[in-house]
């Protein structure tokens, strides 16, 4: 698939228009292992200066794609254009692309300094310049004083920094990062995410990161490509990906979501607050009104998707003239998970469906909290619903 069509939901976001002369163009690339198509006719453009994330479950082909960009795998079909030049058949050591490995792959027999200088020496850089560049890189990743240490004398976080400095030392046109933070603990991972973003902005480089961690992808990347079974399911900014998923698979893969299956019921479509609302007849939650999606659904059997934080709970139902609360239900709280910043509720509606709702804990007091067994009203706005094919 190619670039996302005009944003279907009215989601405000206007990041990076890539259609103008991309730095990297992946053109119908296929990689087969025996009969298995690890990457299946995949096309993607990435602009200079982008921070792009490849996200997907394990075995989806994201690492294979990255390895083709680095040159460790050769595509069976298709082209990989870097600055307009096809690099698909060029061996790794002749590409202006560097990779940071998941295992870091630091040379155990070389010091921090020699690890970072390894690529510069191969590029025949004069010794004085190598010294300068290494010092610059060491300062960049804040490893001053560690230059003479061997990798086995460093902590996990320090090794990660050496790997980063080593892959950045040659100033690659494109930096590939294969699960770069997977080996770090949670706190360190979060601070490193921000350091990586800052670094990428400061150096003006193009980063492609492979990750299976969606929070990581959303935090760092300007755009995310979600892969499944060797194909890109959707390429979009984090916000579009979350608020306007293209398919039921994406909706379920990215974040948490309530899905209610139903049928379009054109006879009951309504004009509410000056906007047309489609009526969807569901077995488990009666009629749900949704904002008319662009483009309109093509099949009658659809799925209403609503994120938990958009399902509001209250003790009493909102007034019946509140158009935002036109989708309103009565039910019983069955499950409460307190997560600190928010609380997750499961509500069994009287009509049968189970809705999940996430409520932000905006005060320290618990008068907003609900307990299991309590009767509540659950309601959500037609604008917050996404209509997807079943």
């Amino acid at each position: 698939m190619t670039e996302e069509p005009a944003n279907p939901a009215h989601v405000a976001d206007s990041k990076a228009d890539v259609r103008a002369a991309p730095l990297l163009r992946i053109d119908a690339v296929v990689k087969k292992f025996g009969q298995f198509r690890a990457v299946d006719a995949l096309s993607l453009d990435i602009a200079a200066g982008e921070f792009f994330a490849l996200l997907g479950p394990s075995g989806c082909g994201k690492t294979t794609l990255l390895r083709m960009l680095a040159g460790f795998e050769t595509p069976d079909e298709g082209r990989i254009l870097l600055d307009g030049k096809d690099i698909a058949q060029i061996p790794p050591h002749q590409r202006p692309v560097n990779m940071m490995f998941q295992s870091y792959a630091l040379f155990p027999h070389l010091s921090v300094r020699d690890n970072i200088a390894f690529g510069l020496r191969r590029a025949q850089m004069p010794a004085a310049e190598i010294g300068k560049r290494v010092a610059e890189m060491v300062a960049l990743v804040k490893l001053e004083g560690m230059e003479k240490r061997k990798p086995d004398q460093l902590s996990g976080g320090q090794r990660q920094r050496v790997a980063l400095a080593r892959s950045l030392a040659r100033r690659p046109r494109l930096l590939l990062l294969d699960e770069p933070l997977a080996a770090l603990d949670k706190k360190l991972r979060e601070s490193t995410q921000h350091e990586l973003m800052e670094l990428q902005r400061k150096l003006g480089l193009t980063f492609i990161i492979v990750t299976h961690d969606q929070a990581e992808a959303m935090t760092m990347a300007g755009r995310i490509g979600v892969m499944d079974a060797g194909r890109l399911e959707q390429v979009a900014t984090p916000r579009v990906l979350y608020e306007a998923p293209r398919s039921r698979w994406i909706a379920e893969f990215v974040g948490d979501i309530n899905l209610i299956e139903g049928k379009l019921d054109a006879a009951r479509d309504a004009q509410l607050t000056m906007a047309r609302r489609l009526a969807i007849a569901t077995a488990q939650a009666g009629t749900i009104y949704v904002a008319e999606p662009q483009p309109p659904p093509t099949k009658a059997n659809v799925c209403v998707a609503i994120r938990p934080e958009k399902v509001k709970l209250s003790r009493r139902a909102p007034t019946s003239d509140d158009a935002r609360a036109i989708n309103r239900f009565e039910g019983v709280v069955t499950d409460v998970s307190y997560l600190g910043g928010s609380t997750f509720y499961k509500v069994r509606l009287d009509t049968g469906a189970v809705l999940r709702s996430a409520m932000a804990n905006t005060t320290r007091l618990d008068f907003d909290a609900y307990s299991p067994g309590q009767r509540v009203a659950a309601w959500f706005s037609p604008e917050d619903c996404v209509v997807l094919d079943q």
């Binding site: 680095a70 460790f72 050591h93 560097n98 990779m99 490995f101 792959a105 390894f118 040659r170």
Partner: protein, 303 residues
């Protein structure tokens, strides 16, 4: 509470066992050899004096100690025969080890890069010769190399040579025998280090601009040095003392120290000189043995 107190009695016994073993089967025999090397040859049973006789009393033992001399060692240093033998042993071992490295490294490298299921089979092929007696294999080589042996027959049939070539009783035959016999000892430690190496390291080298050749010399080779060291010492040390192969395959004009020792002991019946030869040989090998020990220790610390 002291640290030792944490160990149970069986654990302490287990810790002492290797030292007991070494004392019983290495230190005590070595002291015998050392004692004999300081004695004089004699036409007697045993063929040297002095002999300790615990029943003869304290004075006799003191007299025996007084009779010790280092004449045998002086002889070894002054007589060319021994010096040349030692030198030849060291040179033969060094050359053989170099050839073994040149042949063994590519084989081990190839094995380590085979698909996983083929590696076991390759390993079997390396070890299979051990299933036949070492002596039988050397005799088989004699058969192949002799005047009307298989090698000459093939060369003649192919018209590579017009008359049989003398192979047997040459240094070439000896090197062939040594390299053939010791190859597994070179391959196995090399294979062990090479197969443990993370393939991502080579990818990283390539990614950073190293050609496959540079990646080999900058990454693979330095990282395989512990294996190179272990293999080289594992071959060098026993080859220095090698007796059977040079005796059966090499000519008789130059002797290795093992052969000289054998001659002193069995032909000359000069046990004291033979013992002195052995003591010096051990001292010569002490340096590489200690080096090997250090390498092994470092390997253990890394894993």
């Amino acid at each position: 509470m002291s640290a030792e107190a944490n160990f149970t009695r069986p654990a302490r016994l287990a810790a002492i066992a290797p030292y007991l073993w070494m004392a019983l089967f290495f230190l005590v025999p070595f002291l015998f050899v050392l004692k004999i090397s300081l004695s004089q040859t004699a036409i007697a049973q045993p063929p040297y004096t002095p002999v300790f006789d615990p029943g003869a009393g304290w004075e006799a033992i003191k007299a025996a100690f007084a009779a010790f001399s280092i004449d045998n060692f002086k002889l070894l240093v002054s007589d060319d025969l021994y010096v040349l033998s030692y030198l030849r042993s060291l040179v033969v071992a060094a050359i053989s080890t170099a050839i073994l490295l040149l042949i063994g490294y590519p084989i081990a490298y190839g094995m380590a890069r085979l698909p996983q299921r083929w590696q076991g089979i390759a390993m079997m092929l390396v070890i299979v010769p051990f299933w036949t007696s070492f002596l039988i294999r050397i005799y088989a080589w004699i058969n192949i190399l002799q005047h009307d042996g298989l090698l000459n027959q093939v060369l003649l049939a192919l018209h590579v040579v017009s008359s049989p070539v003398v192979w047997l009783s040459t240094d070439s035959a000896m090197y062939l025998g040594i390299v053939y016999s010791y190859l597994p000892f070179m391959i196995l430690p090399l294979y062990a280090t090479l197969s443990k190496m993370d393939p991502a390291l080579l990818e990283a080298a390539g990614d950073l601009g190293a050609s496959p050749r540079q990646a080999f010399w900058r990454v693979t080779f330095p990282l395989s040095l512990p294996g190179v060291g272990a293999g080289a010492l594992l071959c060098f040390i026993p080859i220095v003392g090698e007796f059977v192969i040079p005796d059966l395959l090499a000519g008789s004009d130059a002797l290795m120290i093992g052969q000289t020792l054998w001659l002193e002991f069995f032909t000359n019946k000069d046990w004291p000189v033979a013992s002195a030869v052995a003591v010096i040989l051990l001292i010569l090998l002490l340096a590489p043995l200690l080096l090997y020990d250090r390498l092994q220790r470092r390997q253990l610390e890394q894993t």
